[in-house]
């Protein structure tokens, strides 16, 4: 049975999917790097660099979209009385998971959103990543079905859920005031960005829509695998693909092929493994990098820790040469993905409830 067309939530999900697809392409038209209109992992690496967590002069910019995602989410959650400080579910495991979400994404060159933005722009090298993401989500589901559970999230006293959004308000102040200790690239992909106010407004809009709809890429893949077309998120995902594909075609950004694609490499095995890691981890911690930001805005301190881990990861992948480039995947990148997979396997062993 398909979702009811009279269900308002279904339309909110469709709006979130279309918005993410269309605006994800348009942000690149307006100045963001090609095929990277929205890429949470690239933006995290840029923001880590801006905060001085790595010194790659070409990757330093406080991306307003990230700030918008979190602040749009907290605004919407507060208006609809859904903001709730909560946490306490394997916080350190989630922090480390955040690091490895960025490791996997950096080896593929892009988060799950960018994976599909690349694919809908005709980049066939993304196919290996798509297969990896689906395989990772499937493995994660197998684990959940066999009792892997990071523990219950409890309501927390003291409004700890406000800490990460407050941190992002501070980042907004830094972005607007541009103090000396925040770095802004003048060359490289971080120097390519859409106008600040447009990026911020798009971020706020998508953050609010994603909070209302609970839309995320790995969540859609998960629900699609579990429920097929009965899942509203499946249709949101379909709307996202259609929106991105249509906008790429209309804007003349569609370039079909394996070779000469922007921000892509030809090491398909590592694209597959990088996205496998991201998909698997995302299922275990309840969402892809984008969803972690949205949940952090809703007061989820566990997701907030994953976001902190992602920022740390953004620094590490650049400082340690883990991030892949068009030239290919470095040895450090390959080893890091394998360490990440070892980490997920460890989580799967240590957090399994065998009594069920």
């Amino acid at each position: 049975m398909s979702p009811s067309l009279y269900d308002r939530h279904f339309w909110v999900i469709l709006a979130a999917g279309v918005g993410l697809g269309v605006l994800g392409v348009l942000l690149a038209v307006w100045g963001n790097p090609q095929n990277s209109g929205i890429c949470v992992s690239c933006f995290i690496e840029n923001s880590s660099g801006a905060l001085g967590l790595h010194d790659n002069e070409r990757m330093q910019y406080l991306r307003p979209e990230l700030i918008g995602f979190v602040l749009g989410s907290i605004f919407c959650a507060s208006v609809f009385r859904e903001f709730r400080s909560r946490g306490g579910s394997a916080p350190l495991a989630r922090l480390v998971s955040g690091v490895f979400l960025i490791v996997g994404s950096a080896v593929f060159i892009g988060c799950p959103i960018k994976l599909f933005l690349r694919l809908t722009a005709g980049d066939l090298t993304a196919i290996a990543g798509v297969v990896g993401l689906f395989a990772g989500v499937w493995l994660g589901l197998q684990g959940l079905a066999r009792g892997i559970d990071l523990g219950r999230t409890e309501d927390e006293r003291g409004a700890t859920g406000l800490l990460v959004p407050a941190g992002f308000v501070l980042l907004l102040v830094f972005l607007l005031a541009r103090p000396a200790f925040i770095f802004f690239s003048e060359r490289g992909s971080a120097a390519q960005h859409a106008p600040l106010m447009i990026s911020l407004l798009v971020g706020l809009l998508l953050g609010a829509l994603a909070q209302r709809s609970r839309f995320c890429i790995t969540g859609s893949v998960r629900d699609g695998l579990l429920m097929g077309s009965r899942s509203p998120l499946f249709w949101g995902f379909f709307a996202f693909l259609l929106g991105a594909f249509g906008t790429n075609l209309v804007m003349g950004r569609f370039s079909f092929g394996f070779y000469g694609q922007p921000g892509a490499h030809l090491e398909h095995l590592w694209s597959f493994l990088g996205m496998l890691l991201v998909g698997w981890l995302s299922v275990l911690i309840g969402g892809c990098p984008f969803r972690q930001l949205i949940k952090a805005g809703e007061g989820d301190a566990d997701a907030g820790l994953a976001v902190v881990g992602m920022l740390l990861g953004g620094g590490l992948v650049q400082s340690w040469g883990i991030a892949a480039t068009a030239a290919g995947v470095t040895l450090a990148g390959k080893v890091s993905v394998l360490v990440g997979l070892a980490f997920v396997l460890g989580l799967s062993l240590l957090f399994r409830d065998r009594t069920a």
């Binding site: 002069e57 070409r58 000396a180 490289g188 992909s189 922007p262 921000g263 892509a264 068009a326």
Partner: protein, 180 residues
């Protein structure tokens, strides 16, 4: 909360601390904050270092550029080899070699050299950089890659040609942009 003495004390202290921080921030000049000043210096030093590097490269390779512009391509290559001994591994050496080899019609070697240069220094394909050589790389890819691909079709077992084609695709990908 406001009736409890301890809470009142905490709130008053919070207000005082925040006001104190605001006054410090408002009154601080650029020289008063050593940390901020040192960071600012770091950014300035970084920019100066970059400008110095650009100037050094231009000065160091000016004899090669002069020879190249006068059409003495073979001599320019010899001069580059000589410079390569004093400055081994310099990305600009590869770039200049690629430029000259392209002019000589050695597309395969030009693509290899240009790919090596861009791998070491992405500024060569960055339009925002003073070192940008995008038109050179674009012409190497548009003219050279189809020719080398055709040669590879006729010699499918040639590993060296396959590597050159891979280098060409790499350059094509860098020219297309995207995240790094």
């Amino acid at each position: 909360m406001l009736r409890d003495r301890f809470d009142q004390l905490m709130i008053a202290s919070l207000v005082v601390v925040l006001l104190f921080a605001a006054v410090l921030l408002a009154g601080a000049g650029p020289g008063e904050n050593n940390r901020a000043a040192s960071v600012m210096n770091r950014q300035l030093e970084r920019e100066m270092l970059y400008q110095a590097r650009v100037a050094f490269i231009e000065r160091h390779y000016s004899p090669v550029v002069a020879l190249r512009n006068s059409g003495a391509l073979q001599e320019a290559l010899l001069k580059l080899e000589e410079l390569g001994r004093t400055l081994p591994g310099a990305a600009h050496n590869d770039l200049m070699s690629g430029d000259i080899l392209l002019r000589m019609g050695h597309f395969d070697r030009a693509l290899t050299k240009l790919a090596a240069a861009v791998r070491r220094n992405a500024d060569y394909v960055d339009p925002a950089s003073p070192l940008s050589q995008r038109p050179l790389v674009e012409s190497a890819v548009s003219e050279g890659l189809p020719l080398v691909r055709d040669r590879l079709r006729s010699q499918p077992d040639s590993r060296s040609l396959a590597q050159v084609v891979k280098d060409g695709y790499y350059l094509q990908s860098r020219l297309a942009g995207g995240c790094e």
